[in-house]
Structures are given as structure tokens and as C-alpha cells.
Amino acid sequence: DVKVTQSSRYLVKRTGEKVFLECVQDMDHENMFWYRQDPGLGLRLIYFSYDVKMKEKGDIPEGYSVSREKKERFSLILESASTNQTSMYLCASSLARADSNQPQHFGDGTRLSIL
């Protein structure tokens, strides 16, 4: 089974802090994704990565950056946390195949509160 592990289930930070959310997958997937999930807004894509050191902006990248130094690890960085970044953050990974899309597999999320 695919295992996507997010380092923290709950996190509380203060406005202006730099926040790191970590995600690790154990299935050698090429693709990794960061989403945020908010009531009434569903899942929204922040950033994704197709390969090591590669990143692409999703639908809502403002205020975030990412790092992918190793294939199995994808980090989300809040450069200067703000209260509107309080949310559930979900990491996902998927296999890359040239001929067909593959399902994304999710971690259990990090519930981040910015005070």
C-alpha cells in the first residue's frame, strides 16, 4: 500500500513565522502535490512537483513556496504565516506514466492554526 506521511497532525504557529510542513512518500512516486482544504471551498492545489528540484504553481501559490530536494520528500513553506493560511493541508503523491494518469494518494493532513 502507498504510504504518504505528513510530519505533523496539528500545528499552531504565530503570524509572521516561517512554517515548514513536511511530507514523505514511500512508493517512489515521481509526482507530489500540496493542497489546502477549507469548508465550502473543497481541495485547492497550491504547488506540485514532477521531479526532484522541479516545482509548478497550482491554483493558489501566493504566500507559499515548496522544496523537493529528494524524490520521496516534498516540503511546503509558508514564508510569513498569516491568519488566512489557517487550514487543513494535504499532501499527495502519484506515479508518473507517459500513457495514462494515475490516482493521487493522500496523507492524513496537517491542521495548521495561525494565531
Partner: protein
């Protein structure tokens, strides 16, 4: 772009009955669809998928139906159990590659 919508935010069914959760999508070029289940405090869990060259796919107690003519898909759960209580999302891949668009979710509540 793609938009994906679920028809009902909440669905309440009796234990043992069959459940049907519906979803509509906007992009006729979408070619791959996934249903996820999200239980409280957990991330979305893959249930079943279907590609556009099929109109029906069955799993264990679940069936997904795809109607490309009206851009509609449904998830059917047979003999619904209390453990099926969760929020269910449909998601569609756009034809450009790895971007998934998610519907808003339907909360399934199972009455004993």
C-alpha cells in the same frame, strides 16, 4: 477550465440500503475520474476510478457509472454500512495531464 460539482451536500440512508452519490463535470475532454472517501480526521482515500473508454466499473460493494454524453458520473454503494459514513469526493483529470479538479463533497450519513 474544469469544474466538478456534486449534486447534494448531504445524503442520509438507512443501513443496508444502497447509496447513490452523483457528480457532474464540465470539461468534455476529461478522461480519467476518481472517487475518494474522506473520514473525519483523515485524508481522502482512493475508492475507485474509471477512464473515459469505459462506462461502468465495479469494485467491492462499489460501482462507478460514467455518462460522457451528459458529463455525469455516479458512485453506487451496495448494502451501505455504518463504516461507509464519510464525505465522498469525485475528481476529474484535465486533458493536459496531472491536475486533478475536485468536487465539493457529499456527506453520507448512515442511519442504524
Amino acid at each position: 477550465g474544469e469544474s466538478v460539482g456534486l449534486h447534494l451536500p448531504t445524503l442520509s440512508v438507512q443501513e443496508g440500503d444502497n447509496s447513490i452519490i452523483n457528480c457532474a463535470y464540465s470539461n468534455s475532454a476529461s478522461d480519467y475520474f476518481i472517487w475518494y472517501k474522506q473520514e473525519s480526521g483523515k485524508g481522502p482515500q482512493f475508492i475507485i476510478d474509471i477512464r473515459s473508454n469505459m462506462d461502468k466499473r465495479q469494485g467491492q460493494r462499489v460501482t462507478v457509472l460514467l455518462n460522457k454524453t451528459v458529463k455525469h458520473l455516479s458512485l453506487q454503494i451496495a448494502a451501505t454500512q455504518p463504516g461507509d459514513s464519510a464525505v465522498y469526493f469525485c475528481a476529474a483529470y484535465n486533458n493536459a495531464g496531472n491536475m486533478l479538479t475536485f468536487g465539493g463533497g457529499t456527506r453520507l450519513m448512515v442511519k442504524p
